[in-house]
Symmetry: C2
Subunit: 307 residues, 2 copies
């Protein structure tokens, strides 16, 4: 039996998982990213962790491939990292080629939101259908669209910037220069900002969710408002694409139904009843493991499939 | 050389075109729809017009197939018409099978907006790329998305209801039960309604466009407002799908840049500069011939291809 390793390459941490063909993580490693020393140093340190995971395999099993989910933008065709705001040290490098040469194994690389979507689609909350939209809500908001089993990349490889769909053209200004973007209602920093405006207290987005779970009325309304904006965006996506499975991930999704019930209500208000009746809005079932499992799936495709 | 016939089956008229392999319409027919007598009667009358067109062919040419664009909803897989609000007489009938049996020729059938999109994509304003979004603005507003050469149908065959994307959650009520839908700003009836509200004069949507072209200030502002709403929807679609070609058809598109310049400006305001810089918003180049040519393309696929 062959195994693969899925890697979530993050701004501060790198999480690795040894993944079996059913999508079970059999062993894990986690190291600091420390990207300042450049791509080759990061590749060296990843290779050392790959060796550690490989050493856990019984003699009859082999490592077939490695997959990486990176905080975009990336070129998934060439495997290059482009300009990564949070990882300047490894930006603009042929990361997949470097890792592949170092490991002498097939390596796949894609955007982490797309990897997470593939994880949910093949092993998690989206595995009951052939199409799915994944929306990740954390510091920023992004999406990945899977239609008939395949990711939509777009003509310039930048599909999925649904965090900047306009929810209200007269809404809050967004750092992107527009206003009323979905992100201005739902991101972690947006939750913190709206909570501070209503309560005078400075807390993080995660703390807003924690307070809402504890019954704080202001926090509950901030999350409900975020959910209503999310529901409007989901409605427009569902009307346009007629995709019926929406999986919501990222740190803000930890608020669960405090966010998602408001989204479901506004989805019903802002779409045809025939459409909203079929749309299912779910929280991630894989959580932080989604990008690891999606990267593992990409690795397996690269080892076994045409990709 | 083989020829095909494309048919635009409309609420009041049926337009037929004999189309050569380069997408040139070599002969035309046009009859009233008169759907009251039912599907078989309409099929009989279409068959008579097909015979007339066939008779114009020189002896060395043959008719290979026929394609039909129908005002949805349709099931493009089975070729059935579903419940057509404007054509109750032929609703819920196996229209493709009936026409195919009558003609003894392969017949293709799809939604008219999708047919029109295929027409623009293969023979018109969208033929310079492999992806395109067609937005048709008439009595209603719909869309058809072509990604990497293929139409997106969605899981329940209802993709393209982008006329009901939310442009402003506190906007005008829409007949669909929601509010602030794109359609409430841009459809012909919406133009008429907003013009009447601002001027006190009752005119049709077409007359609003005509007055705007003649310099009427109120009409110009109604069209600009419609264009701004259209630009917001295009921005959200471009950010999500990263498709760079938008072709605008339907009767309201006859207003041309009076509508589209406002759309282009608001697209720039409501999307990343890197995205809007690449997006091209164009008017239809085929006009009323778009569904005929798209239906002809579908006919050729059905005769020659796997479809």
């Amino acid at each position: 039996m062959s195994q693969v390793i899925g890697i979530d390459l993050g701004g501060s941490k790198i999480a690795l998982g040894l993944v079996d063909p059913r999508g079970e993580i059999r062993a894990r490693r986690r190291i600091d990213t420390n990207s300042e020393a450049g791509s080759k140093a990061v590749v060296e340190r990843i290779a050392a962790e790959v060796e550690v995971l490989k050493a856990t395999l019984p003699p009859e099993e082999a490592l077939a491939a490695v997959g990486v989910g990176a905080p975009g933008p990336v070129n998934h065709v060439s495997g290059d990292l482009l300009t990564l705001v949070n990882l300047p040290g490894i930006s603009n490098s042929p990361f997949r080629r470097l890792l592949q040469e170092r490991l002498s194994l097939p390596v796949a690389l894609d955007h982490d939101a797309k990897a997470a979507a593939l994880g949910e689609f093949h092993y998690g909350a989206g595995r009951d259908g052939d199409s799915m939209i994944y929306i990740v809500i954390g510091t920023g908001v992004g999406a990945a669209i899977i239609y008939q089993g395949k990711l939509i990349y777009g003509e310039g490889n930048s599909a999925g910037e649904s965090g900047h769909m306009t929810v209200d053209p007269k809404g809050h200004p967004c750092h992107c220069g527009s206003r009323g973007c979905l992100e201005t209602y739902t991101s972690g920093p947006a939750l913190a900002k709206h909570y501070a405006a209503a309560s005078g207290q400075t807390v993080t987005g995660a703390e807003v969710s924690a307070r809402a779970l504890a019954g704080d009325e202001v926090a509950l309304e901030v999350l409900a408002s975020a959910g209503r904006a999310l529901g409007i965006a989901i409605a427009s996506l569902a009307m346009t694409l007629n995709i019926e499975r929406f999986v919501i991930g990222g740190s803000v999704a930890l608020a669960g139904d405090l966010l998602l019930n408001a989204a479901r209500e506004s989805l019903t208000l802002y779409s045809f009843k025939t459409v909203s009746a079929k749309v299912n809005v779910r929280a991630t079932s894989l959580g932080e493991d989604a990008p690891i499992l999606g990267a593992a799936w990409l690795a397996r495709q690269r080892a076994c499939g045409p990709g």
